[in-house]
């Protein structure tokens, strides 16, 4: 087996992808999992470059490692869930199922590698334009225009769905500046609307109001001190 530079890079990034993937599954802390998954994405992006597909590699890093993982990390931080507790599994029989499935799939991979009908495929090195942004764009906007438009509609539906899912029950807002509550009335208004929407008992107007005024007074004093 010849060990040229591309092979070395494949082993490096393939090993990085597999290692990060295993680390992602093994970690109990969701944030560590997310960082491992970013490692997988970056390794896969490098493999796409190795496959002479710079456009997909760039999109991989920007969309996956950038946008999607930021979303995931944001949700992890927002929920602030503690580490998974080590408690007995309810569905304990799933572990042997997982191991069996893994054995089957790894066996398939070994079959591909050893019997290797596919390895006789010779890469068409003559077609250098495949994978460049221009060829991908031409394909997207001519032959595959309909799927492209369908994905844009899909994105719109996902946007509407996500906003609908994540929206809280609305709190009544003042209509015009004249309706803005005066100092001390605001919390009562919020408490009133919260009570109307079924969340009563959370906000206690009297105590919160006094606390807020105290905090505001301290802030004013601190500002005067810092100006001097």
């Amino acid at each position: 087996m010849d060990f040229d530079f591309a092979t070395l890079l494949f082993i490096l990034f393939g090993g990085m992808a597999v290692g990060c993937a295993v680390s992602m599954v093994v970690q109990r802390n969701a944030l560590y999992s997310a960082v491992s998954l970013v490692g997988v994405f970056i390794a896969l992006g490098s493999l796409y470059l190795l496959l002479s597909s710079p456009f997909i590699a760039a999109v991989q890093v920007i969309v996956y490692a950038g946008a999607i993982m930021v979303l995931v990390v944001f949700v992890i931080m927002l929920l602030n869930v503690e580490e998974e507790a080590r408690r007995p599994l309810r569905l304990i029989y799933l572990i042997p199922v997982a191991i069996g499935l893994a054995a089957v799939l790894i066996g398939q991979a070994a079959f591909i590698l050893t019997l290797g009908g596919a390895s006789s495929v010779n890469p068409r090195t003559t077609n250098k334009v495949v994978g460049l942004t221009s060829s991908v764009g031409t394909g997207l906007f001519t032959e595959y225009l309909l799927p492209f438009e369908i994905t844009s509609v899909l994105i719109l539906m996902a946007l509407v769905g996500a906003i609908t899912l994540a929206r809280r029950a609305t709190v009544a807002r003042p209509e015009s500046p004249a309706d803005f509550p005066r100092r001390g009335e605001g919390l009562a208004l919020v408490a009133e609307s919260a009570g109307a929407s079924g969340g009563g008992g959370v906000i206690q107007p009297g105590r919160t109001d006094a606390t807020g005024q105290e905090v505001a007074r301290q802030q004013i004093e601190r500002n005067e001190n810092s100006d001097e």
Binding site: L47, L140, L165
Partner: protein, 100 residues
């Protein structure tokens, strides 16, 4: 040049790790990330075939898969947020019934 079968084997291994993760994890966000890993393994297969056969169609499909993954991320995380708001937990064992 690296044989095509190496890429396919790597993709199969990554997909397997994703499957195992979805089965053994109970944190909804981690299961979600394992699904992303499976999508990426399939993407690797698409790009490898596209590059080896000199046909750009596979890469267009990867583009569409990425779009679907982004939509899935938005909706899936919205669902996780909604579940957390109702149950104070994102452990899927705590969300095993549809009613509250």
């Amino acid at each position: 040049m690296i044989p095509l079968s190496w890429y396919l084997a790597l993709s199969a291994v990554l997909f397997t790790i994703g499957v195992v993760g979805v089965i053994i994890k109970r944190n909804a966000i981690q299961m979600f990330m394992c699904i992303e890993l499976m999508l990426n393994a399939v993407n690797l297969t698409f790009v490898a075939f596209s590059s080896y056969f000199g046909d750009v169609t596979g890469q267009l499909f990867v583009f569409i898969v990425m779009t679907v993954a982004a939509a899935e991320a938005a909706v899936g995380l919205g669902i996780i947020l909604a579940v957390f708001r109702n149950r104070e937990s994102i452990d899927v064992d705590d969300a095993s019934v549809l009613r509250l």
